[in-house]
């Protein structure tokens, strides 16, 4: 693995039964890079990033995350998951725990931090996502945008090297998208490695170092934002951009 790379995916193939969902994926992510993955639904983009923290298994190829090769070895999976955080489309907060307890769970049980320290850490990140005053409420008492910001704070509590975002704004009411994107833009400025599956092209233009376009289980095109939007090479990407940017 090269010094500067934090994720290396080589010749990755994955099948759901007979369905070939990821085809010969090759992708390297450098430390601190911000990658946006886009593409039509069913193109395999969510599956790809879910392979990175092993929520999905794959059959062929290799994924190396921070010098750890993902195999069936449970210790390696655990080690990778300590470095990689994920924000989900449907937030997936734990409804039976208060916001604060949602955040302290991982520090206290995985990092064995004392409750007091874990709570201080949690409050720090809740403050950063502008939601500290809701700490003692339960997830279902918050709006979607607030829940997603809590979910981002929860994943920050691990101080992860890499953050994966799986369509973080797709399940939100339109007026709440901005508050979540603002938080993500702030994060992007901090130099943490981020891989975001999203359709928010404004966000991609603003912060992405590279944009990856997937269709049909393969990477069709990858480029820096400027060229990605102005000079798409493939017809498939041209069509996709037309469809999502035409209105």
């Amino acid at each position: 693995m090269e010094e500067n790379n934090i994720i290396e995916i080589k010749n990755l193939n994955k099948w759901y039964g007979d369905f070939h969902v990821l085809k010969e994926i090759n992708l390297t992510v450098k430390k601190g890079e911000i990658i946006v993955v886009c593409g039509p639904s069913g193109s395999g983009k969510s599956t790809l990033i879910r392979c990175i923290n092993r929520l999905e298994e794959f059959q062929e190829g290799s994924i190396v995350v921070d010098n750890i090769e993902l195999t069936h070895d449970i210790k390696k999976i655990k080690a990778v998951r300590e470095e990689v955080a994920m924000v989900f489309q449907h937030f997936n907060l734990f409804p039976h725990l208060s916001i604060l307890d949602n955040l302290t769970l991982s520090p206290m049980w995985v990092k064995k931090m004392a409750r007091k320290d874990a709570e201080a850490l949690a409050m720090k990140y809740l403050t950063r996502v502008n939601i500290a005053e809701q700490a003692h409420k339960y997830p279902n008492q918050l709006s979607g945008g607030q829940q997603q910001r809590v979910a981002i704070a929860r994943s920050l509590c691990k101080n992860p090297k890499i953050m994966l975002f799986d369509e973080p704004t797709s399940a939100l009411d339109p007026e709440m998208v901005a508050e979540v994107l603002d938080v993500m833009i702030e994060l992007a400025k901090e130099g943490r490695t981020m891989v975001c599956v999203t359709h928010e092209m404004g966000f991609a233009k603003k912060v992405a170092d590279r944009i990856i376009f997937m269709d049909n289980g393969q990477i069709v095109e990858e480029n820096i934002p400027d060229k990605f939007f102005k000079n798409p090479e493939s017809d498939r990407l041209k069509l996709f951009l037309e469809q999502i940017l035409s209105h």
């Binding site: 923290n53 655990k78 994920m86 039976h96 991982s106 339960y138």
Partner: protein, 362 residues
């Protein structure tokens, strides 16, 4: 720029139209409804006044012999009163019954502790402390307490011992069976499925017979172990299968995203299950778990067939007392009331638990 004023909020119209309106709406709204109302009232008229007449107005409450009851012709509660100690304690030695009463007192203390203590760890500690104390008090044999052999146990006390031990022992087994059945490991899964499906295919009465008659055949001669203990093992094994199925139902109600989020923040399997999945699954399963508990409380009466005298058994035995012949009805009404009291309390308790664990606030 368009400007708009906030319209004032009005309070909702008052919705009370009086009792007569309610009666007309709900009891006499259509010919069929009127007919059903009269039928219902008629039925209640046929049942309640005669029962009250028998159970209260014509009943005898004070006295100590059956002759005292001969005058009024109604229920003879003297019989219950006279035999009450036996119904409650069975053949437990009279001089030692304070131990059971003390146990009951400790139980009340435990309820208060569970209600007012904040820390879950402390609650758990108190609960276990109570179990140990209750076991020592009931069985004896240590701390200068005389040992009371289980063939002296009986009545309501035995009913509670059987039901409580059954549930407390079966619950953790049930949790593990449910997790095993939902597991990815094929051998664990098939063992759990086989166990659950086997037990659920056999009536409790068969299991009681097996544990009391067939099980001893497998032990070498001379080794016997307690009849009550054998029954308790049988009941716990039986209940565990049902509890496992109810918890499995709860597990299935938990969305996949919860498992993924727990994985993603780095929890191990047991942390994930213990901290994230089971608390939610058990909450979903509360009504069914209490249902199982209520059913078990009633099923304890089956221990009669292997020669243990629970509350119902004691009442039957007492009604067969040659001096008190002919008072079965009073006995059964009494048993009915006790069982209803316990089961209804459990049902109310379940509703309170559900409310307490409801974090689905909007």
């Amino acid at each position: 720029m368009a400007v708009y004023d906030m319209k004032p909020t009005k309070s909702a119209p008052v919705n009370s139209k009086g009792a007569w309106h309610w009666v007309r709406e709900n009891l006499f709204s259509s010919p069929l409804n009127i007919l059903l109302t009269f039928l219902g009232v008629g039925l209640l008229y046929l049942i309640i006044p005669p029962f009250l007449q028998w159970a209260y107005f014509d009943a005898t409450f004070i006295g100590s012999t059956r002759e005292d009851c001969a005058v009024n012709g109604g229920a003879c509660w003297v019989f219950i009163n006279y035999k009450l100690d036996m119904f409650m304690y069975g053949f437990y030695p009279e001089g030692e019954r304070w131990r059971l009463n003390l146990g009951l007192g400790l139980f009340v203390l435990l309820l208060l502790a569970l209600r007012y203590l904040k820390s879950t760890l402390m609650k758990f500690a108190f609960f276990n402390l109570f179990l140990v104390a209750a076991a020592i008090l009931t069985i004896g044999g240590t701390l200068g307490l005389e040992m009371v052999p289980t063939d002296r146990w009986g009545g309501l006390m035995l009913t509670i011992v059987v039901a409580a031990t059954g549930i407390i022992v079966a619950f953790p087994i049930g949790v593990f069976l449910a997790l095993g059945r939902a597991s990815d490991l094929p051998i664990i899964r098939s063992i759990c499925v086989t166990y659950i499906e086997f037990i659920r295919g056999v009536p409790l009465i068969t299991i009681l017979f097996m544990s009391s008659i067939i099980l001893p055949l497998f032990f070498p001669e001379g080794i016997t172990f307690d009849k009550l203990l054998r029954a308790l093992i049988g009941i716990a094994m039986f209940e565990a299968a049902y509890i496992a199925e109810n918890i499995r139902g709860g597990l299935q109600a938990i969305p996949k995203g919860q498992y993924e989020a727990a994985d993603a923040i780095g929890l191990s399997y047991w942390q994930k299950m213990g901290l994230v999945i089971l608390p939610q699954a058990l909450k979903v399963a509360i009504p069914n778990l209490v249902g199982v508990s209520i059913a078990l409380f009633q099923d304890t009466t089956l221990v009669l067939i292997i020669g243990l005298f629970d509350l119902l058994g004691m009442v039957r035995l007492s009604a067969a007392d040659s001096y008190w012949l002919g008072f079965e009805t009073e006995g059964y009404v009494f048993v009915t009331f006790i069982f209803w009291f316990f089961c209804y309390s459990m049902s109310r308790f379940s509703q309170r638990l559900e409310k307490r664990f409801n974090t689905n606030l909007q």
